[in-house]
């Protein structure tokens, strides 16, 4: 019996504000079969996190960090991608981002590799139409599922030719989450209290007035212990109120069971983790992102009964939502609704797509 040389899959991730792109890539990469070796090429400073998860990683500074013209940066990027293709000879390149870079596309064109665009949906209505022009540059478009798909009014919604849809992608399977006692110990909280995880969404780059108001309201309930998630990305560190307890671990979902509910942004990864792991939540959607329709996601969660959405910014609404989340019965009902919405982790199906393309490239 002869052993086959592993095919390589190069996962290229854009920078982004948080860890969404790189986390999605790693979610897929860690589920590839043994005969496909993942390599992560990231523009994110999350490089140490990627290495910490056991992946071989390459880094290229994003244009934000370089201060050069688009032409210069893309020229350098094309040269680097040329170099990576020559060094690692990947069979497949998977790009996760909403706007593929010209330099990368130029290097990939005619390189004899399969090109996959992993592109989450739920774009804000009317936004990003020009991005779709890059579809012909790819052999496959992989669209991670959206639980809130019925709210999706963006340009990637509906049936689009050549798009492979998989269920929502999560880094961890439910079975990988620590049990409550262990998770509580890891976070440093008492499992007998009402523990609240605040993860405001790091694209906001501040611990804003809404988050402070939540802290103030929750401080009135003696049962409650609040822990604020600190981004593991150092440049995303934001000043926090004094004496607030913090947690910074990756993946954060591994300690979700220490908590009774979460107050969160409504970005793709956090949202699907919260609903997927049935953690009741108060969502504070960021309406100011360029493409991501967080408001649509948050509304769906509230309508489905799996969470609450605080869009208005009004204190009275916050009080109403927190009263529901601080009520044991109401929280149990939210968790039960979330479990009814449960979905299969799409990361494995996405890995199958990538592995299939790697295999077809290997056969050529």
């Amino acid at each position: 019996m002869t052993s086959r040389r592993p095919a390589k899959a190069l996962f290229a991730t854009s920078n982004g504000f948080g860890l969404g792109h790189v986390t999605r890539c790693m979610a897929i990469a860690r589920r590839l079969p043994e005969d496909v070796e993942p390599i992560v090429f990231t523009l994110s400073e999350a490089l140490p996190i990627v290495r910490g998860q056991g992946f071989f990683a390459e880094y290229f500074s994003s244009r934000d960090a370089s201060g050069e013209s688009s032409a210069q940066w893309n020229m350098r990027l094309a040269r680097r991608v040329d170099h990576l293709l020559a060094e690692y000879e990947p069979a497949v390149v998977v790009f996760d981002g909403t706007y593929p870079y010209a330099g990368m596309l130029e290097a990939l064109r005619g390189a004899g590799v399969k090109r996959v665009w992993c592109r989450r949906g739920m774009w804000r209505a009317g936004e990003g139409r020009a991005n779709l022009m890059f579809e012909p540059e790819f052999d496959a478009i992989l669209q991670p599922g959206e639980l809130a798909a019925e709210e999706d009014a963006g340009v990637t919604s509906g049936d689009r030719r050549g798009v492979v849809r998989v269920p929502p992608i999560l880094f961890s399977d439910d079975s990988e989450l620590l049990p409550r006692e262990q998770a509580a110990q890891r976070v440093g909280v008492d499992p007998g209290r009402v523990n609240v995880l605040m993860q405001p969404g790091w694209e906001n780059q501040s611990f804003g007035p809404g988050a402070r108001l939540c802290l103030e309201r929750l401080a009135r309930d003696a049962r409650v212990r609040v822990v604020v998630a600190v981004s593991p990305l150092r440049s995303r560190a934001v000043p926090l109120p004094e004496e607030v307890a913090t947690v910074s671990t990756y993946p954060l979902a591994s300690v979700y069971r220490a908590f009774d509910f979460s107050i969160s942004g409504a970005g793709y990864n956090i949202y699907h983790e919260l609903i997927g792991y049935a953690l009741p939540c108060l969502l504070i959607p960021n309406a100011g992102t360029p493409l991501d329709d967080q408001v649509g996601r948050a509304r769906f969660a509230e309508r489905a009964g799996a969470g609450r959405s605080w869009e208005s910014g009004r204190e009275a609404d916050l009080d109403r939502h927190l009263a529901a989340l601080l009520d044991d019965g109401s929280r149990d009902r939210m968790a039960a609704r979330a479990r009814e919405l449960r979905f299969e982790n799409g990361a494995r199906a996405a890995a199958d797509v990538v592995a299939g393309l790697a295999d077809s490239a290997r056969r050529r």
Partner: protein
Amino acid sequence: MDALRRLYRWLVRRLPPRAAWTLWRAALAAARRRRGRVAGPPIASAHVAWGASEGELAALVKRLTDGPENDPARLLVITDCDAVHVAAARGVRLEHVPPSEEWRRRSPDGDYDAFLERRLRSILASYRIASLDLSPGTPVSIARTASEAGVRLTTSG
């Protein structure tokens, strides 16, 4: 050129995707023809920080940006240190190279020095670098490749 760029952006936002893609392809072809003429950014001061800890890299970046040539866009650091945020936070250009132990873990039978030579040639082709300051412990392959490319080498210890 700026007016053309604005017109291009205006058009691709309004055209149907297929027509926008055709226009984009034409723009890319023009950019490719220009590629050889798009000069890499001129670098006033380039440094190798090999084997640097996060603190050492931060100290170097601070020293460079506090120094007389303090336009960070004209400073380049080549390093195998994973704390890439340190340079980005100050706007200094950074070229990261996978450290030897990581590279060898993935490729136990590979030749890391040959990899470094290829990577450095690619980096040198991307910038206009006249001289390169080497930290203690800089691999010989880096110094040799830079020297062969006509880059003046210095060591500031």
